[in-house]
Each structure stands twice: as C-alpha cells, then as structure tokens.
Symmetry: C2
Subunit: 216 residues, 2 copies
C-alpha cells in the first residue's frame, strides 16, 4: 500500500468536528498524506466564528484524491448552489477510491449529482431533503454505497473514519486506531438520536434547525 492521499474540504461556516473527527482517524492510516483545501488557501471560520482552520491548498491546487471528505455545517445550504464547488467535487470524485461526507456534507455530494438513486444519510434534521436530489434517505449512522460513504450528523464522522480505515488497512489496524484515540464512548446521556432523545428535546432542536432553513 502506497501513500493514501486524503483531501479534506473546508469552507466558511463549517462545523469543525465534522472534519476534525474523520481527519483524526484517517491521518493515522499508514502513509497517510492529508491536505486541507478551500476555495482559496488561508483561514476559514466555523459557523460561530470562534475557530479558524487553515486550508493549505486552494481548490485549483487539488486535482485528485484517494479519499475525499466533505464536511457539513450551516453553510452547506447556500453551497448547494455553488456550481464551481460542485464541479470540483464531481471532478475529484472521478479520481477517488472513496468519496465521503459527514453531516450535511452529503447535501453537497447530492447537489453534485453523486447520490442519485443511492441510499445516503446526513444530519437528522436535513434527512428528508436528500430526496430533492434523488437520493434515498437512510437513517443509519454510516451508509456505504460502493465507493460513496455518507455519515450522519457531526460526531458520526469518527465512526465513518474507523469504517474506512478498516476497509483500507484491515480490521486489526482500525482497532489500533480506535485504541489510539481511546474511542470507548460513554456519553452521560443516551440522547444522540431522534429515536432516543426526549420528545421535548427533539421538538426544541427541530424548531431551531427549521428556523435556520436546514430542514424541510
């Protein structure tokens, strides 16, 4: 196995954990080379502006990838209509072994036409919107359809990353990565999905996302 070229998309309005979760897992692949890319090289700010991440490369600098990771965030709703970004995603996808997304990053894969007729997932609040692009909403945490792998909201990118490491480097290696990041989750509540969270909590968040135009 030679270098694994991992390309992580950044943009203003990103949700930081969407990209840092899979990055932290995938960079532990043997011979991993990771590049962070945005429309222009330089800083992008998270949705709340609190954190800047740096893209070392511009879209024009990157013409191929073994693994493409497209994160989400409130900004994706507008980026679904950004034809030059979608064109770049389509072009990179023709070169990848794996094309992946976390959270509403899948809305960009969908808008680029890559999910037509395929099962896919996204953040729970946006799930039904996948049908607008001919994808089949699927509420699993990680959805594999050939080389396209979509993950559910925000933290699901960690599980997606481990799934990919297993595909690329084998189960035992992936178990080592899981131990390396001590990923033995013990959340203090069991409220991480619509099916498990208290109804009042689901309702409060659904209204918040609806007000931001992220759900149907």
């Amino acid at each position: 196995m030679g270098d694994v070229d991992i390309v992580c998309l950044l943009f203003d309005g990103i949700t930081a954990l969407d990209i840092v979760g899979p990055y932290e897992v995938l960079q532990r692949l043997p011979e991993a080379d990771v590049k962070f890319v945005a429309r222009a090289a330089g800083e992008v700010r998270t949705d709340n502006k609190f954190l800047a991440l740096v893209a070392d490369c511009s879209l024009a600098d990157i013409t191929s990838a073994d693994v493409l990771v497209v994160p989400g965030g409130f900004a994706t709703r507008a980026l679904e209509r950004d034809e030059s970004l979608l064109e770049w995603i389509r072009a990179i996808d023709t070169t990848t072994t794996w094309t992946t997304s976390v959270c509403t990053g899948s809305m960009l894969l969908a808008a680029a036409g890559l999910l037509r007729g395929k099962e896919a997932t996204t953040h729970w609040a946006s799930l039904e919107r996948l049908t607008e692009y001919g994808a089949i909403p699927t509420s699993r945490r990680v959805v594999e359809q050939g080389k396209i792998v979509t993950a559910a909201g925000v933290s699901a990118g960690i599980d997606m990353g481990l799934t990919l490491v297993a595909r690329i480097a084998g189960d035992e290696y992936a178990q080592g990565v899981q131990l390396g990041i001590e990923y033995d989750p013990q959340p203090p509540f069991d409220s991480g999905s619509v099916a498990k969270a208290p109804p009042a909590v689901v309702e409060f968040l659904s209204e918040l996302y609806s007000a931001r135009g992220l759900s149907n």
Copy 2:
C-alpha cells in the same frame, strides 16, 4: 446565567480532536464565548503538521476564564517543563469555575501542581506518569474532582464536554447538545480501551507510545 467564557489552549504538536471535541460541545452552551489561545497569536500545527488551527489570542491576552480546556498531544511531554506556560495555567485556574483537560493535557495540569492528591486521568499510555506529580491515576473516562475535570484520551473530550454542559446548563440542555451533534456512537469495533482491545493491538500501540517517550 451570563456569558460563559471558554478558553481553549493551543500549541504546536496538539492532537486536534482533543480540543475540537470539547469545543464543539461547549460552544453550544447558551451565551458561550470561546477563545483559542496559544503562546503567540497565529497558527499552530498538529502533531503530524497536516492541520493548522488559529489562536486568535496570545497567552498574555487572556487573564481569566470560566472554563479552561487544556488538550494533549505528543508535544505535552516537553511542555511539562515550560515554566511560563505552567505559570499561565496556574494563574487562569485561580479565576475558573472549571479547569479541564483532555488526554495528556492533564500532564500539564499535573506539572502545574493542580492535581496533587487528586484523582485524574489522561491517555491510557501515560496514565501511570500522573504519579510523578502526585496525582492519583484513575482509569475512568471523565474524572471530576471539584472544579477540576480530566478526560481520558483524545475522543473522551466529547464525553467530558457533555458532562460539563449538564453541570452548567442542566441535563435537558445537555441532551439537546448531544442530539445536535448526533452523538449516538456506533464504532465498528469495541476496541477503545486497553481492557477491550485485542492484546496484540494493545502491545503494538504500547510499544509505539513507549518509543515516543509518552509512557513510563
């Protein structure tokens, strides 16, 4: 409840998920204000150099915090002897409601003298080293000792963040944050702790960390 001033420490050689995990959770507190701080304002690079995060503030800019988050990474071994950083940590701690760490960030709290006689945790490979500073190694995922909260390796900062949100804003609010980041973990393996991982995997990683001077 007024603003919650959250201060996240950055340094070259950081493990990105150590800080982005708790950041992603804590920034969802009502009235959260988050500042990223490093010795000097500007970019810091992760352990592998692949990702740069931006500190908007220098240590000198920050003189207090409601919540201090100290992350880990391979760099902490050297930073344990960085007296000016330890002095800053001690000074901020005198102002905090919560002083927290993720992974080997607790070695910096320990080196600063804040963990003497207290139970604490860190990345599993460094756990016994806590005794060098008079702390009591404790292999729980999140260890609360009064206002000091230490979390285990890398991904444990997400669980720590949710624990803190519950303390600060209540259980129901924390459940909402958990649903917001769709934290319903489903790792493809059950290999996230030394007790659960296959022995060969534990041995391989133990040798790796030992070679890097992170274990005893």
